[in-house]
């Protein structure tokens, strides 16, 4: 029996829908008061009335407690249907097994199954977004995660595609419009009321955004960890950053990280950043990015923080294929240059490739086959860069890094009912509007897509 079999069996003894992540994991979008445990259920609103009495309601909402009740009573909460679909239609383990098997979950099984469903529980794996303040407005992002997007949409409205892309109306209607950082935010206030107690039990804490280095609360967290007389030395700390903030902030961040690391105040410290391709094409996708400055900052951190790993999260999209091989070359160069045996993770830098599903007009699925084949070539390049067998070298692309790029190609060429023509039309409308609003020039930046673009435009007429 595998570990997963054992874990599933233990969970099933409690109930057919039991999943520890409902207690042990949380993502808190404090900038708009939403929460969910595990990324599959749609985030739900945290009632202000609940956090007034109980700051842990940022995680322990009455809504979530009712789902826990179902789990403890041998029922399957409806919001977790992603896992039920997997379990009912395949022999694979669902994510409830994987997440419950994690080191931040499984050790707490006995404790959790003995709890009353009404009990508050301190999560071990916490992701938090304090603010949507961001100096970028990436093509695939939204007002929910970028204040720059909010500004643009307030000024020009949503993008007139086959639907009103990135409009603010539905955010307002669903109560998801983010607080401005300058406004009083009761969710952030509750977080700080809870934090001293929460911190003590944390296994993993990850700050996302917006751009976390532009959120004052990120700095407050770093200062707390750097100064507290009783540090939680088991903590795995992660911070997302676009590495495109002013240099003085990068310097300050490195200074604080250095103190935390050198005083062994955490178990590990990992930095997550983003990049989807190379040079000016990357700058087009991530509007606000200075690509060369980004690379300088990556190298600066790898040099100054010799224990830290940088993970580049790459949301691979229709504009990524043409320079991705150069990004792979650079990552390999940095892996080699900055490898050492002190890093928390094996590699100095990782390229974590994921495919973009939303917005669909930027999906790789809209591309022609010749462009999709470039993804396969990138995957092969990463494969050549993989850590070779039977050698003493330990730098190189990991199996996971390689497989994720190959998986992306498989996704790109798969036929799953994706509406190609509709999304191609939306793509052209999108880049036309994007260029007008942002002063960019799509055809100059992506000459490889000139024919593709023109053919769609001609059809549109």
């Amino acid at each position: 029996m595998s570990n997963f079999d054992v874990t599933k069996s233990e969970l099933d003894k409690v109930g057919c829908g039991m999943c520890l992540a409902k207690w042990t994991q949380v993502t808190m979008h404090l900038h708009n008061g939403m929460t969910h445990s595990c990324h599959h259920p749609v985030p739900h609103k945290i009632p202000l009335s609940e956090i007034k009495e109980n700051p842990t309601a940022l995680h322990n909402t009455k809504y979530k407690k009712l789902a826990r009740k179902e789990m403890l009573e041998n029922k399957r909460p409806g919001e977790c249907d992603y896992c039920w679909n997997v379990e009912d239609n395949s022999n694979s383990f669902s994510d409830r097994v994987f997440k419950s098997n994690e080191s931040w979950s499984l050790p707490h099984l006995e404790e959790i199954k003995g709890l009353d469903w009404r009990a508050n529980y301190n999560p071990r794996y916490v992701e938090v977004s304090f603010s949507n303040t961001c100096n970028f407005k990436c093509a695939y992002c939204s007002p929910m995660a970028s204040s720059k997007w909010v500004e643009e949409i307030e000024k020009f409205g949503g993008y007139p595609l086959s639907y009103n892309f990135n409009n603010l109306e539905w955010l307002k209607e669903t109560g998801q419009l983010p607080y401005k950082q300058t406004e009083y935010n009761p969710y952030v206030e509750s977080f700080w009321n809870w934090w001293p107690e929460l911190y003590r039990d944390l296994h993993t804490f990850r700050i996302t955004g917006g751009e976390p280095l532009l959120a004052k609360d990120t700095w407050k967290v770093l200062d707390f960890i750097a100064e507290t007389p009783e540090p939680n030395r088991k903590l795995n700390l992660s911070i997302n950053t676009n590495l495109g903030v002013p240099k003085n902030l990068i310097n300050e961040f490195v200074k604080k990280a250095k103190k935390i690391i050198e005083e062994d105040r955490v178990n590990e410290f990992v930095i997550f950043t983003s990049c989807e391709t190379w040079g000016e094409q990357a700058e087009y996708i991530r509007f606000g990015l200075n690509f060369n400055q980004f690379l300088e900052n990556v190298e600066y951190i790898l040099q100054e923080l010799p224990k830290v790993t940088i993970n580049i999260m790459s949301t691979f999209n229709a504009l990524s294929p043409f320079g991705y091989d150069k990004l792979i070359d650079k990552v390999q160069e940095l892996k080699e240059k900055y490898q050492n045996k002190e890093r928390y993770w094996k590699s100095a830098i990782q390229l974590d490739t994921a495919y973009l599903r939303w917005p669909p007009h930027l999906s790789v699925k809209i591309l022609d086959r010749e462009h999709k084949d470039l993804i396969l070539e990138s995957a092969k390049k990463a494969f050549y860069y993989a850590t070779p067998q039977f050698t003493n070298d330990y730098f190189g692309f990991s199996d996971t890094e390689v497989q994720k790029i190959k998986r992306l190609y498989d996704f790109a060429i798969s036929d799953d009912g994706f509406e190609v023509e509709k999304n191609r039309l939306d793509f052209v409308k999108f880049v036309d509007e994007y260029d007008i609003r942002k002063g960019t020039n799509f055809l100059n930046t992506f000459p490889q897509l000139e024919n593709f673009y023109n053919e769609i435009r001609n059809k549109k007429r």
């Binding site: 494969f383 039977f390 050698t391 070298d393 190959k406």
Partner: protein, 195 residues
Amino acid sequence: MKLEIKKGEPWVMWPDLLVGNFNDFPANKIFDHKGDYVFTIEFELVEQITDKACLFSKLPSYFGVDLRNGGITLTYSEKDKETDYIDANYNWLIGRKYELKIEKKEKNVILTIDKFQIFNFKIENDLKEDSDSHIIFGAGNFPKNGFNLNYFNVILYSVKIIRDSEVISHNDFEKFIHGKSYDITGNCNFIHKII
């Protein structure tokens, strides 16, 4: 271009378990193939052969070619039989490029050097197959195993593998990426040094 294999520093075609993601039939399994195939290796000797020198060996079920002073040996393993070998005389010259070709057609195995037939014999059963086959160049075993090594200095110019009638791998040693020879078929059947 060329691949200079130094004595005691063999190379291996055993790309990685991931190669299965990139092609349906990894070339390191060619000697497991029940159909027809052609394995061609172009090489040059840089010194006089005194002891047995292993040009290449497929493991773990053995299939390989050893060069001797004045001769050549092909060792092979059939299913349900002991490992066997076949010998022939051959006068090797230093600094000369050779093309050694092993062709399997149904149950016939033919070995030629520069189109001159050296061996032609019939196997009764299929050759032994393995789940984790690999082909070592310049040694008869992994160095860590310490036996049947038969190292020597040799230069490889090309390793080309045809399965049925399709070229599934061709390393011409023009290009290397991260210490791996580039397979110009695009199938990622690279060859790399064992350290």
